[in-house]
């Protein structure tokens, strides 16, 4: 069930009605969230429910054991059990075929024919997201940041909360789970803010991401025939596509949660307006980078122990982050490129400079950073490493060639794209453009109608969200 499918609209209205008009108690509302989230998730394939159920059940009981256990050694063992099971699921369902394939290729390098066949495994939608969310809970209990949860229903509702189940934001148990324990009162301004955020999310997904996908797919599939100019535009288009797709999903998820009285963490803060890679990572997929900082970088020692150790830890985080995105060396390379781009900031950290003190170089720095990010996206989007290097060599060879479907991009669409960038810039500068209560209703509603009309105009059937595959 996708957020822009008709069935989801029906599903949402049914759940919303039951949630506020029928289930008036907190406990029944949580039970409704749990049941409806399982229906939402099972809509893809009911077999996926077995995995999320098992993973949630294990973490619920392991965390309880951890909390009640005094021996540090046993606590650690219990944490490892949770890690092994959760990462085991992830390993089997997401990475097993990749490991088998890579091992087979490695063996064949030595002249042997291993004749290994991969397994027919379906990747459960959003497995990386909910695995990290449930792990966050076990970590938090282990590090004594919170107590173990008593209510199985509340915990299951937390892990499977449908607005953010399949593509985040990856919530911390310390932030989201307490919200399941509070009585929820319908908050009108919050609900309106949620609707506005959802609307902007739909615009990002349908008007930007899905349209960009047409050009991106064409260019990345036929890149050997295309000019360097087309390849450069292709990489830029992909930057827009993935941003529109993922941040659009996050906006819809956050907006949707607000309608149920929940506050999810911000996942994107205008990352393409960052002036360097460090800032980019404070603005891109914030819930994941925060997760890695909290549960990987800091436990590894973080910045303590000298510069070399810090660089090592940064590299580990970026490699794991790349690998988290998918079972392909292209994602690892993407993480590695970001790790390399990040090193100068690690080295310069703490050294104050007066460079760009008055913001004079803001725009060139934003542009340079955007170009670097676009180059890295080539690894992310390519089907394999060879293709990504071919694409990049084509990009920097300044060759002639065709431009494919780019020639069909209409001026009106370029205008819409310009308006979108301007809109994002305005929101970035004013930060809360969604708070437009002071404007007359006629003006506000006209604006909403224009946005709805625009995304309905560009709506073209069922298109998946990119991050669902992770």
């Amino acid at each position: 069930m996708l957020f822009h499918e008709k069935i989801f609209v029906l599903f949402f209205f049914a759940v919303f009605f039951l949630y506020w008009f029928v289930c008036k108690k907190r406990s029944t509302q949580n039970l409704l969230i749990f049941v409806s989230s399982y229906i939402f998730y099972g809509w893809w394939d009911w077999r996926f429910l077995i995995l999320i159920f098992t993973s949630s059940l294990i973490d619920f009981f392991v965390a309880k054991k951890i909390e009640g256990e005094k021996s540090e050694k046993v606590r650690k063992h219990l944490l490892w059990i949770s890690l092994a099971i959760n990462l085991g699921f992830l390993g089997v369902f997401k990475y097993l075929n990749f490991f088998i394939g890579s091992a087979s290729e490695l063996i064949s390098l030595f002249g042997m024919n291993p004749n290994i066949t991969t397994l027919n495994i379906i990747l459960p939608v959003g497995i990386s997201f909910y695995t990290f969310q449930t792990l966050s809970y076990t970590f938090d209990v282990y590090f004594k940041k919170r107590s173990a949860e008593d209510s199985l229903v509340d915990f299951f509702a937390y892990v499977s909360f449908f607005p953010q189940l399949v593509a985040g934001p990856i919530e911390r148990s310390t932030h989201l789970l307490p919200q399941f324990k509070k009585e929820r009162v319908f908050d009108l301004p919050l609900a309106y803010s949620g609707l506005r955020q959802m609307l902007w999310g739909y615009v990002k997904k349908i008007v930007i991401a899905d349209q960009m996908a047409i050009y991106v797919n064409d260019i990345f599939q036929n890149y050997p025939q295309y000019s360097s100019f087309a390849l450069a535009i292709g990489a830029v288009c992909f930057a827009f596509q993935i941003y529109g797709d993922f941040s659009g999903y996050s906006d819809i998820a956050i907006g949707l949660s607000k309608l149920f009285g929940f506050d999810l963490m911000t996942n994107f803060k205008f990352p393409y307006f960052s002036k360097n890679i460090s800032e980019f990572w404070q603005r891109w997929h914030i819930s994941l980078s925060g997760w890695f900082r909290e549960y990987l970088y800091i436990p590894l020692g973080g910045g303590r122990g000298g510069m070399n150790l810090k660089i090592r830890n940064v590299f580990i985080v970026f490699l794991v982050s790349g690998f988290w995105h998918g079972a392909n060396w292209t994602f690892v390379a993407w993480g590695l490129v970001h790790g390399l781009l990040y090193i100068p900031y690690v080295l310069l950290e703490g050294k104050k400079t007066n460079f760009n003190k008055n913001g004079f170089f803001d725009f060139p720095l934003i542009l340079l950073n955007f170009i670097l990010v676009c180059v890295a996206w080539v690894f992310f989007r390519s089907v394999d490493l060879i293709s990504s290097f071919d694409y990049l060599s084509g990009l920097f060879s300044f060759r002639d060639g065709g431009i494919g479907l780019l020639s069909e991009m209409s001026t009106s669409y370029i205008f819409i794209l310009g308006l979108f960038i301007l809109g994002e810039w305005l929101i970035y500068k004013r930060y809360k453009i969604f708070d437009i209560y002071h404007l007359p209703r006629f003006v506000r509603w006209s604006g909403y109608y224009v946005l709805i009309f625009t995304f309905l105009f560009f709506l073209r059937g069922k298109t998946d969200f990119i991050y669902f595959q992770f």
């Binding site: 319908f186 009108l188 009309f453």
Partner: protein, 348 residues
């Protein structure tokens, strides 16, 4: 909380109802698809065809409404059936050259018409006690094939379908099309610009930008603007990518058999109506730019049902020697259809 929730739900309903109400009013009052034609339907249709930027309409429905209005003025007893390919058959020419002076002919083709559609229209005429004296009925691969009709332009008119569900589906398809921004946006642009912006790129079925001379008496539509374009500068007319690829290469082939038992049933029913009315009928296997023979099994079946003397297989033709005989690879121009009519009555 209850107040806040009620206010929210109410506001949401108002927010949804405002555009739905406005658009519904526009839909019913302006009737862009001509589905609520009134007492002066023929004039309304004529007025519609004279416009330079027109919304696509369901040809079958509009033609049937026009027919019932014309029937009030005179007895119509001669009909031309077929898909859009039969659109260039001129009933006036047929009348004046080959029919009796008191015969009145009417073009009753429909976009993407099928055997079932033709059978339905004949049954409709039969039930209305119309004297079906002369008929030219044209078949091609698409009309012989069994297929579901869905788009608003092709769906069966409520005048010829019997089930309430199918009648409702006709209106529902139009409503669905009307509320689609892909339709509304170009429509609004054309209305605001008074027809100056007639962007047919959004959806080729939404807007037509070529004016037509419409004869409400015979339901004939003459594409005078296109005709002028071809006559004056054929190279310019045929230079669009679609036409270039259509006329690039000619092929000869035999089509696979497409007539199922169901289709055979429609053919038999059509023949029964002809027999009942003692109709003087001509069955035409439509020619095309490509030489595509019907499967011998299908052709034999058609010959058996309608009789060889009444069946004219024009697949092998001379008209496809010249590109200028065609609007595109499937649709012949009026001078070709005139020659076809002459051929049908040769020796009579």
């Amino acid at each position: 909380m209850k107040n806040a929730l009620t206010r929210f739900v109410l506001n949401l309903m108002i927010f949804i109802l405002i555009p739905v109400t406005i658009l519904s009013l526009v839909f019913f009052i302006f009737d862009p698809f001509l589905i609520f034609l009134g007492s002066d339907a023929s004039e309304e249709i004529k007025d519609y065809y004279s416009k330079k930027c027109r919304v696509g309409t369901n040809l079958e429905h509009v033609s049937l409404v026009n027919l019932s209005h014309q029937m009030k003025k005179r007895e119509i007893n001669s009909f031309i059936f077929g898909s859009s390919r039969a659109g260039a058959f001129d009933p006036s020419y047929w009348e004046s050259s080959y029919l009796s002076p008191d015969d009145n002919a009417f073009l009753l083709n429909a976009a993407g018409d099928s055997l079932e559609g033709m059978k339905r229209k004949l049954t409709y005429l039969d039930k209305k006690n119309v004297n079906i004296k002369n008929v030219i009925i044209t078949f091609d691969l698409d009309s012989l094939r069994q297929k579901e009709k869905e788009p608003f332009l092709l769906i069966d008119s409520p005048l010829v379908v019997e089930s309430i569900e199918k009648k409702a589906m006709f209106y529902l398809q139009h409503v669905k099309t009307f509320f689609n921004p892909k339709f509304l946006f170009p429509l609004a642009l054309s209305k605001i610009s008074k027809g100056k912006i007639c962007n047919t790129d959004f959806n080729k079925f939404v807007l037509n930008s070529k004016a037509i001379t419409f004869d409400s008496r015979t339901n004939n539509r003459f594409f005078h603007e296109v005709e002028k374009q071809i006559d004056e500068d054929p190279n310019n007319f045929y230079k669009t990518p679609s036409l270039l690829s259509q006329f690039k290469k000619q092929r000869t082939r035999t089509l696979p058999s497409v007539l199922s038992d169901r289709q055979e049933g429609f053919l038999i029913k059509i023949a029964e109506i002809f027999k009942k009315h003692k109709t003087n009928y001509k069955v035409v296997i439509h020619p095309g730019w490509q030489t595509e023979y019907l499967h011998p099994k299908d052709l034999t079946l058609i010959n058996d049902i309608f009789g060889e003397s009444n069946t004219f297989d024009l697949t092998l033709n001379n008209w496809n020697r010249k590109r200028e005989n065609w609007y595109d690879e499937k649709h012949p121009r009026p001078h070709v259809t005139k020659e076809i009519i002459s051929l049908l009555y040769k020796g009579n």
